[in-house]
């Protein structure tokens, strides 16, 4: 009977070990972490830009003065950029009538590439093209995606390195709070 008990204990132990599977290579999703935006202590001025959109219309940072802006830097070949796009579209639906601007600055790709990409991954808000990669160099960015939140006076208030679920009201409320009453 003792042998049976020992075997039973061994079985339970083996079962527990087998069940304790390590995590498989995870996606870059951040859903397991409570999300936040990182405040920039020195609140630097956002660099001025002159970039065209998909219809060859020129956009400048100054065009958006007086509104909080969410500026996302991305590329079509960047998996976490693709992953956060649907949540950015949903966020845009929530804030587009609230006096908040949202821009997606593509880095290093041409209009045709982005056009082909948007067939599979529609982007509902303004896409700007930094094809030469000159504009991104003016921003404190080390990887894609990186997103900044600019206040109505053109200062960078928050940054997010890597993707976020942007339709989370916890994040959007931080942007809404920057609006001038």
């Amino acid at each position: 009977m003792k042998l049976a008990q020992t075997l039973l204990s061994a079985f339970v132990l083996m079962f527990m070990i087998a069940c304790d599977a390590g995590p498989s290579p995870s996606s870059s999703k951040t859903s397991h972490v409570q999300q936040a935006l990182t405040p920039l202590a020195n609140k630097p001025n956002a660099p001025e830009f002159n970039l065209i959109d998909m219809d060859d219309e020129m956009h400048k940072l100054a065009d958006y003065k007086g509104k909080p802006i969410i500026i996302n830097f991305w590329a079509t070949w960047c998996p976490p950029c693709r992953e956060e796009l649907p949540s950015m579209n949903r966020a845009w639906k929530k804030v587009k009538d609230e006096g908040i601007a949202m821009l997606a600055i593509n880095v290093g790709e041409d209009e045709d590439t982005i056009f082909a990409f948007s067939g599979e991954y529609p982007i509902d808000f303004t896409v700007l093209l930094d094809e030469s990669g000159q504009e991104i160099n003016k921003w404190p960015i080390k990887g894609l995606p990186t997103t900044f939140v600019i206040d109505p006076d053109g200062k960078i208030i928050y940054q997010a390195i890597g993707g976020r679920e942007w339709d989370d009201d916890k994040l959007l409320d931080m942007v809404r709070a920057l609006k001038k009453s």
Binding site: P25, T30, V33, V107
Partner: protein, 220 residues
């Protein structure tokens, strides 16, 4: 005596039954895992998995706020990526066969009041098993590649793609979801086995860990 004999018989049956259940259950549970776990180093929390579809291996290290994933990229996958972005076949092949890993580093802590995590890839070292003097060597950073291409015909567009598709040599991750991803080239030839010595900081405190028996992806 008869009772004793019956009891012994009974014991044997119970043992046989338990053994059968153990074997069966172990195989059932093991085979239903999403990925095949090969090795788990509990102390350092390093887990190796193999993707059943691609057969590519991945290593995941978790300690404190820091989580690091290193996923093999097949040379074919990397070659096509860079050729598709204007690199010559030679340069694309040089990168592809330099032991490239898709790397994701993140700060897993949600609380904004906790420490940031930072990595400096210039501190990372690899030790190759067949290296006679067993000395650790630095990994190949994006800056090293750029030096190699000085004067070479690598277009601006290709350099932009390379810059943003590769892992930054230095980066800090704040709590609340910060992470970054990108390719890291460890350096050795395809199918080489090596140990990787990883360094990172959580706040001001420096940490390190060895990830043993990593393999450069094979070039089929």
């Amino acid at each position: 005596m008869i009772i004793n004999y019956k009891s012994k018989k009974m014991n044997q049956k119970v043992v046989l039954l338990i053994c059968s259940i153990m074997t069966f259950s172990f195989f059932v549970v093991s085979s239903t895992l999403k990925a095949d776990e090969i090795k788990q180093n509990v102390e350092l929390n390093i887990v190796k998995t193999v993707n059943k579809e691609t057969q590519l291996s991945a290593w995941k290290l978790s300690k404190g706020n820091f989580q690091l994933e290193l996923i093999q990229r097949s040379p074919e996958q990397t070659r096509s990526f860079f050729q598709g972005r204007g690199f010559s076949s030679k340069v694309a092949n040089d990168i592809a066969t330099s032991c490239v890993f898709q790397t994701i580093g993140r700060n897993t802590e949600a609380d904004n009041k906790t420490d940031s995590v930072s990595v400096d890839l210039s501190e990372w070292r690899i030790a190759v098993a067949d290296n006679k003097d067993k000395s650790a060597q630095a990994i190949k950073l994006k800056e090293d590649w750029n030096k190699e291409w000085k004067g070479a015909k690598v277009s601006v567009a290709s350099r932009i793609a390379f810059r943003w598709a590769t892992y930054p040599s230095e980066q800090s991750f704040e709590p609340g979801g910060d992470f970054n991803w990108g390719m890291i080239s460890m350096g050795p030839k395809p199918d080489t086995t090596f140990d990787l010595h990883v360094f990172w900081k959580q706040g001001d405190k420096k940490h390190d860990a060895w990830i043993r028996n990593m393999q450069c992806p094979k070039d089929f």
